[in-house]
């Protein structure tokens, strides 16, 4: 069983969002960078659980990014990856990320490629599907459960208004979300071991830009809350009906 887990770097969930240079650049000062929560808590931890059951399984990690992503990759190795690839490029768009990951995947041949459901900065939710399309593999998005028996995977995935259970033969691409696994923290042994695990830097394959962020914008500030007395909730109902016209 060979598993590839796609790891991305995102600002911490509580980071202050601000822009500079005519709103073209995200202000990085004071921002703490983390492994994108979906990649860490769900995709990576599920891969580790699979390996715990089947010690012959191998977990590779891949990130597309500059040298500044290495602390994130090391942390992921500390949690439990076996070796990592860093494709040395600040990705231009989702397709670029996917093309780089697909290139690594076609060289190594994985049974399972796991991504997070989305990155919490760009919220594209696109990379997994694009990797699947480039490699022409089945794609199971928004999975909440993944079990393996031989060559067959059984998954639960979120659909509009509920969930469905699906069966599919490997190899597959899966995007992972809550339910898949429980978050873990790296232990000392893992952190020590991670220092000597291979982290290979590979050069990117060529790609043409397809989508480019030209500028950012912050939403207009809220006007402020209109408070209603707790003794008169009917006044709130009236406002929602007559003023906000919501009910």
């Amino acid at each position: 069983m060979k598993i590839l887990v796609c790891i991305s770097k995102t600002p911490d969930t509580t980071a202050k969002i601000a822009f500079t240079d005519n709103n073209t650049k995200f202000v990085q000062e004071g921002v703490q960078w983390i492994i994108n929560p979906y990649d860490e808590w769900y995709a990576l931890v599920r891969a580790i659980e699979i390996k715990e059951k089947d010690p012959s399984a191998v977990i590779h990690l891949v990130t597309v990014g500059g040298a500044d992503t290495e602390p994130i990759i090391r942390k992921a190795l500390a949690l439990g990856g076996d070796e990592a690839f860093r494709v040395n490029k600040d990705p231009q768009d989702s397709f670029d990320v996917a093309a780089q990951i697909a290139a690594i995947a076609s060289q190594n041949g994985y049974d399972l490629i796991l991504t997070g459901k989305e990155t919490i900065d760009y919220n594209n939710s696109s990379t997994g599907g694009m990797v699947a399309a480039i490699l022409d593999l089945p794609y199971i998005s928004l999975a909440t459960k993944l079990d393996l028996a031989g060559n067959t995977a059984t998954l639960n995935r979120e659909i509009e208004g509920g969930e469905e259970t699906v069966e599919v033969n490997l190899p597959i691409v899966v995007s992972c979300q809550k339910g898949m696994a429980e978050a873990r923290i790296p232990n000392m042994r893992g952190i020590m071991a991670a220092r000597t695990k291979p982290l290979k830097v590979v050069e990117p394959v060529a790609n043409e830009v397809k989508a480019e962020v030209v500028r950012y914008e912050l939403p207009p500030a809220k006007a402020g809350v209109k408070l209603v007395s707790a003794d008169h909730p009917e006044e709130l109902v009236r406002l929602l009906h007559e003023e906000a016209k919501m009910i």
């Binding site: 969930t13 822009f19 768009d93 989702s94 397709f95 996917a98 919490i120 900065d121 760009y122 919220n123 594209n124 939710s125 696109s126 990379t127 997994g128 599907g129 694009m130 699947a132 399309a133 089945p138 794609y139 998005s141 928004l142 059984t154 979120e158 659909i159 509009e160 208004g161 969930e163 469905e164 259970t165 699906v166 069966e167 599919v168 809550k178 830009v209 397809k210 989508a211 480019e212 962020v213 030209v214 500028r215 950012y216 914008e217 912050l218 939403p219 809220k222 809350v225 209109k226 408070l227 209603v228 707790a230 909730p233 709130l236 109902v237 009236r238 929602l240 906000a244 919501m246 009910i247």
Partner: protein, 320 residues
């Protein structure tokens, strides 16, 4: 040159999000002076010609029941073929769960630039620039698409459905349907309720409600308003509510017209999933609860006293 809009459906019914996508695609087509058409994979109980009311002149269908369940690999192949056959240059999806699965696959196959999570019509004054949500609703990005064929996935509830007169011509597409590799063995739908992702009104509860036995008033208020119910992660984590109700950074991101938060503190990770709501109402006994900063209306008070009174007032309103 035309705009092709993917129509999502389940159990024979076209999803509301698809009416939004059709309206969006039709508006985009008229802005560009081209035609808009819908694409339906599978079968539905709706008269397809009637979809003309959303501004499309044609509906293409691949009439095959095996397509009534999602397989993104199969869907994206058929969509790609349909784009090539119809000569469409723009492909529009709802960025709902089906769209999140299918749009990126179709975009990659077409080598087309994709904007997922769009919130407005493109600006065509300098190229083709689409506004989208980023940083979990805390900001917007303007994305310029550079490719000949372009794909847009419009966020649920971001574009208002527009109807008019008109019938669409229904055309069958003759495309070979590949065999699906993903077999659906069971579905677990929450019956009879408004799906959270599509809901215009949402009533949500947090740890302030003390226990699952107290959700009766949340459900009663939601039922009265025709709203869906949601909850904070803290509540889903202790299994007071099913996890598909959990909204926020790690749960579902929603953008209803009205979000009523009861006994929820308003942690930044919770706000990340709900801050795109048009109007936010907060009921919390702590005046310092951070949620009030993001709210439009609020009551500082005990939910167990306030909510029953609200229910009475809504009943009166509905009766009047």
């Amino acid at each position: 040159m035309s705009v092709l809009i993917f129509i999502d459906h389940s159990d024979g019914t076209i999803k509301k999000n698809s009416f939004e996508a059709l309206s969006y695609g039709a508006a985009l087509a008229s802005k560009m002076g081209v035609e808009a058409a819908g694409l339906l994979l599978g079968t539905v109980n709706t008269d397809l010609a009637s979809l003309g009311q959303y501004g499309v002149t044609k509906i293409y269908q691949v009439n095959n029941e095996s397509l009534n369940q999602l397989d993104a690999q199969v869907y994206s192949k058929l969509i790609t073929d349909a784009v090539n056959q119809t000569g469409a240059k723009l492909l529009v999806f709802s960025n709902n769960l089906t769209g999140k699965s299918t749009a990126p696959m179709a975009a990659a196959k077409l080598k087309a630039g994709l904007v997922s999570g769009a919130v407005a019509l493109p600006d065509l004054s300098e190229g083709f620039v689409v506004k989208k949500n980023v940083f979990s609703g805390k900001a917007f990005a303007y994305v310029s698409l550079k490719t000949d064929v372009k794909v847009i996935a419009i966020n649920p509830n971001a574009y208002t459905i527009q109807t008019g007169e008109g019938k669409a011509e229904v055309l069958q597409l003759d495309i070979a349907v590949p065999e699906r590799k993903v077999k659906v063995t069971a579905t677990h739908k929450v019956a009879g309720k408004v799906p959270l992702g599509e809901a215009e009104l949402v009533v949500s509860g947090g740890r302030g409600l003390k226990g699952p036995e107290n959700w009766g008033m949340i459900e009663e208020l939601a039922d009265l308003l025709g709203a869906a119910t949601a909850c904070s992660r803290a509540v889903a984590d202790v299994h007071w509510r099913p996890h598909h109700e959990h909204v926020g950074q790690t749960g579902l991101a929603i953008a209803p017209n009205l979000y009523i938060a009861i006994g929820i503190s308003g942690a930044i990770q919770h706000l990340a999933g709900v801050n795109r709501s048009k109007v936010i109402v907060v009921i919390n006994k702590d005046p310092e609860a951070p949620f009030f900063k993001a709210a439009d209306y609020g009551i500082v008070g005990d939910a167990f006293e306030v909510v029953p009174k609200m229910i009475e007032a809504v009943k009166k309103l509905k009766a009047s």
